[in-house]
């Protein structure tokens, strides 16, 4: 009787020999609570001042929904673009040797260092109809700056390092012998990339995608310089927050923030669960 109880007891943590769980877990959770959870719960608490009806009216307002669609849509699109091209960039940086490789490698991080407003201004300078790239695109009838496409351009810039920097270290660790083994078994190059390399890179790609997307959803500084900010067309959700703040309506501002936060939290959680599952299934890597 007692034995069954014990074996079915709920374990928070699986036992192991490594020490320091309490210390590191405790510290991490305390710091996380202090820096992230307490401030964010303050945010949620403030938005509750709005009352349920007003909250629902705000969340279901067509303009809010349009802005959320624009923010999430552009973030996902930019993250997809970054996934494809960031993968190519990481591949080129890891596998090929060419002069100036280290410089290119170093420059990839710069979107983090550049204040987002500067990034927005620089991109607007380039992609405006009188800018270097913008003028060239205008000849073909494309407009980028001050249209929804401008938002995507800004978010691609902001998110690029996430993909490259998560894929790159994993790609460096890939054992070349596996590729050679697959080759001796008669696999073609395309097969090896698709069946051997990509599955191993998948967790890293997912992480990069998730972070680039998450970062893009909330981005404000760079986007307002290049978006045009027209309601229903190129107005992003963070701009709605600023507009509510200008009305001194903190409750409504925080409510928009909470809606954005909940959606991105769900998206991130799903991606992290997929990743945990794939890690469990394919082992390490």
């Amino acid at each position: 009787m007692t034995a069954t109880v014990q074996s079915s007891r709920w374990h928070f943590r699986e036992p192991g020999v490594i020490p320091g769980f309490r210390l590191t877990f405790g510290f991490a959770v305390c710091y996380l609570s202090l820096v992230i959870l307490i401030p964010l719960s303050g945010l949620v608490w403030h938005s509750s001042n709005l009352g349920w009806d007003a909250f629902w009216a705000l969340a279901s307002d067509p303009r809010t929904i349009a802005a959320l669609k624009i923010s999430f849509g552009s973030a996902v699109l930019a993250a997809l673009i970054n996934t494809v091209f960031g993968l190519v960039v990481a591949w080129v940086l890891v596998r090929y040797r060419f002069p100036g490789r280290r410089i290119v490698d170093a420059v990839v991080d710069l979107p983090f260092a550049l204040p987002t407003a500067v990034a927005g201004i620089a991109l607007a300078t380039l992609y405006a109809p009188n800018g270097m790239i913008g003028a060239w695109l205008a000849d073909f009838g494309f407009k980028v700056a001050f249209t929804p496409a401008g938002i995507v351009v800004a978010l691609v810039f902001i998110g690029l390092p996430f993909i490259v920097r998560t894929v790159q270290p994993v790609l460096e660790e890939v054992d070349r012998e596996i590729e050679e083994a697959a080759a001796t078994l008669g696999a073609s190059r395309l097969d090896i990339v698709r069946r051997v390399l990509l599955p191993g890179l998948l967790p890293a790609i997912l992480t990069g995608f998730a972070m680039a997307m998450a970062r893009g959803i909330g981005e404000y500084g760079s986007v307002i310089f290049i978006a045009g900010n027209i309601p229903y067309v190129s107005e992003i959700a963070p701009l709605l927050i600023v507009i509510r703040l200008e009305e001194f309506n903190y409750a409504a501002a925080t409510a928009v923030g909470v809606v954005m936060l909940s959606i991105s939290f769900l998206m991130l959680l799903i991606i992290n669960l997929i990743q945990a599952w794939s890690r469990g299934r394919f082992g390490h890597g």
Binding site: I18, F21, Y31, L43, T116, V118, I133, A187, Y220, P238
Partner: protein, 278 residues
């Protein structure tokens, strides 16, 4: 025999044509989205010559903003580094329930709009809050002063080190540590002599990214700074001020200095990597 060698080679490496195409795609993409914006920043910065560049950097308000930015980074980066190592240790070395949930919480600051990350501290420490006036009674200023700016920066750069280390340490597993422990090393010794050398590059990377972002953060800091010129303006905020004064060259000069700072840290990283590469 010769046939086979060729086929193995072509299966472990791309043909020259594919290689060329991939490199062309990578360069075109980087040029459009990365190099050209940087060229714009640098060329605008030096539009009025090197003298004007130095004048913009040596302006007392600019120097004050540089000092403030370095101070804020010097406080927030080490804190987030310690957190990152602890969180990665707990997550990578142990199996426990709700791990994906915890990782998602760590990711969360990435997805919070910078406007909101500043606002949370205004709500927490502003005049309308409970904490703000109480702390003020003790003479402690949080908002519109260095502590508020630092808190906002910590929030924004929170995930970087942890996010860099978690996948790396998960990949490495715990075999090395288990071996060291079974040979009688203490937990702390194991960490210092086994784990730390294994994760040093990832750690360095995370710290560099965290630092770059800490120096470059604009939106969140803008909300809590109060924009007092020469006192609570960080470099990104000073850039905005200059830009709004139609002083474009000076604005881009300070921006180019931020780019320069980031490049210096990256050059340092490359140098360290070369020296200690095994």
């Amino acid at each position: 025999m010769a046939d086979q060698t060729i086929s193995i080679q072509s299966a472990t490496a791309e043909t020259p044509l594919v290689r060329l195409v991939l490199m062309a795609i990578a360069f075109l993409f980087l040029a459009l989205f990365l190099f050209l914006p940087l060229v714009v920043v640098v060329s605008e910065a030096f539009r009025n010559g090197v003298g004007a560049w130095f004048q913009a950097i040596l302006d007392p308000d600019a120097l004050a903003s540089i000092r403030l930015t370095l101070l804020v980074a010097a406080i927030s980066v080490p804190l987030n580094m310690v957190f990152g190592v602890a969180a990665a240790w707990a997550i990578a070395k142990f199996e426990f329930r709700g791990k994906a949930f915890l990782i998602t919480l760590i990711d969360l600051p990435f997805s919070v709009s910078p406007v909101i990350s500043g606002l949370v501290y205004v709500l927490l420490f502003g005049s309308g809050s409970v904490l703000g006036p109480w702390l003020k009674g003790w003479g402690i200023e949080i908002l519109f002063a260095v502590p508020g700016i630092t808190l906002a920066t910590i929030f924004v750069t929170f995930p970087f080190v942890a996010r860099e280390l978690i996948p790396l340490m998960q990949d490495q597993g715990s075999a090395d540590e288990e071996a060291a422990l079974s040979l009688g090393a203490s937990g702390w010794q194991t960490f210092l002599h086994v784990t730390l050398p294994n994760i040093r590059w990832g750690l360095l990377y995370g710290v560099l990214l965290c630092n770059a972002r800490a120096m470059g953060e604009f939106g969140a800091v803008s909300v809590v700074s109060g924009h007092i010129r020469g006192l609570t303006d960080t470099m990104p905020l000073h850039i905005e001020i200059l830009y709004n004064e139609y002083n474009f060259a000076a604005a881009f000069a300070v921006a180019s200095l931020l780019v320069g700072l980031a490049l210096v840290t990256l050059v340092l990283k490359t140098a360290i990597e070369r020296r200690y590469a095994d």
